[in-house]
Symmetry: C2
Subunit: 211 residues, 2 copies
């Protein structure tokens, strides 16, 4: 015997894989799925096209990994607010929408890539699953709100789908082109107000102190 993988090598390999995912994510956020060719991603990560296949079986596999990571982060964050946040269901719903929206705002390119950008079949399939998870989170809090009597009777799945679609639609396309201004904050406030109406919350308590 004359060679066995050493921890240092494993680490280097793993780091390369991570770099690949990270750079691919950045590239996708910037130029979309179509623009993120294997060559471009490899170059961004400082390796050759061939080396990509050391880490992923195919470009599709890389794309799916990129999507899963980014989408997973978002779902986790939203889940933390909606499921484990403070306050009653309505408060958490408002917070959740605000968080969803603010994050999408701050990384608009990524949000677009996750929600709506043209992509290959496999990524679209992931997207479906992703949206389903978003919906499930919203549905859960809406359901809690209705059983607590804070919200009127309704199909939580429909409301949840609507919330997902609504926030996506508002943010992804070009309503508020500019960035950080007060306009963005106003849009956020408008959005959360709309979301509360959508779920049927009676009164809109000042729900702007969200994080």
């Amino acid at each position: 015997m004359a060679y066995r993988e050493t921890p240092a090598v494993r680490m280097r390999l793993d780091a390369a894989r991570e770099r690949l995912v990270a750079e691919a994510t950045a590239l996708v956020a910037e130029v979309g799925w179509a623009g993120a060719s294997v060559g471009a991603v490899a170059a961004a990560a400082g390796m050759s096209a061939g080396s990509v296949y050391q880490h992923f079986a195919s470009k599709t596999a890389l794309a799916v990994e990129v999507f899963r990571r980014a989408a997973g982060r978002e779902v986790d964050v939203l889940g933390a607010v909606l499921r484990d946040g403070d306050g009653d269901a309505v408060t958490r719903l408002a917070c959740g929408v605000a968080v969803f929206a603010r994050r999408a705002f701050e990384r608009r390119g990524l949000a677009y890539a996750l929600l709506a950008a043209p992509a290959e079949e496999a990524v679209c399939a992931e997207r479906l699953e992703f949206r389903r998870r978003y919906r499930a989170l919203f549905a859960e809090v809406v359901r809690e709100g209705t059983t607590a009597g804070l919200l009127p009777p309704q199909d939580p799945e429909v409301t949840a789908a609507a919330l997902t679609g609504a926030v996506g639609e508002v943010l992804v396309d070009p309503l508020a082109v500019p960035g950080a201004g007060t306009a963005a904050e106003a849009l956020l406030a408008e959005l959360t107000a709309m979301a509360l109406r959508c779920a049927g919350a009676r009164s809109v308590q000042g729900g702007n102190d969200d994080r």
Copy 2:
């Protein structure tokens, strides 16, 4: 001189072009934009691939035409209800959502193609414009509702975007897989109720007698 286009020829040519658009639309509704290759579309229309280029400068041009026709029809129908329909703004809004949803339901494949299916850049650009027009129609009726005091103060653009996104989200993905059953009607009712809440309409009058 020895040849000049005769009316009969013109008609045959035009008919071929129409057939092309029609078959392409059907194909797209069935197998998506990716599956509708030039060859497949040509075959469906009973001509050779080369002949397609007699009528369209490129596959992209054909795709755009297909999209514009189908989307234009939808916008027209929605406009007829929202802008020129009977009743006050809230009633028309409810009708509009129901019509939007019902049409999408009945031609689910086409709805998916128009709203969300993976497509080439040019089609995506059209889609943006299409959604903008949808939004504009909804925004108009919401604005009318607010000035008439039927709806609370709100940013009509945000509400309109939300309605577009919400209906799209609910319909396009696979909430209600089945077709014509009472489930579909129930979903429609749920949807319009949600839309009215979303716009802030006070009471939901029985708005199911829409066409």
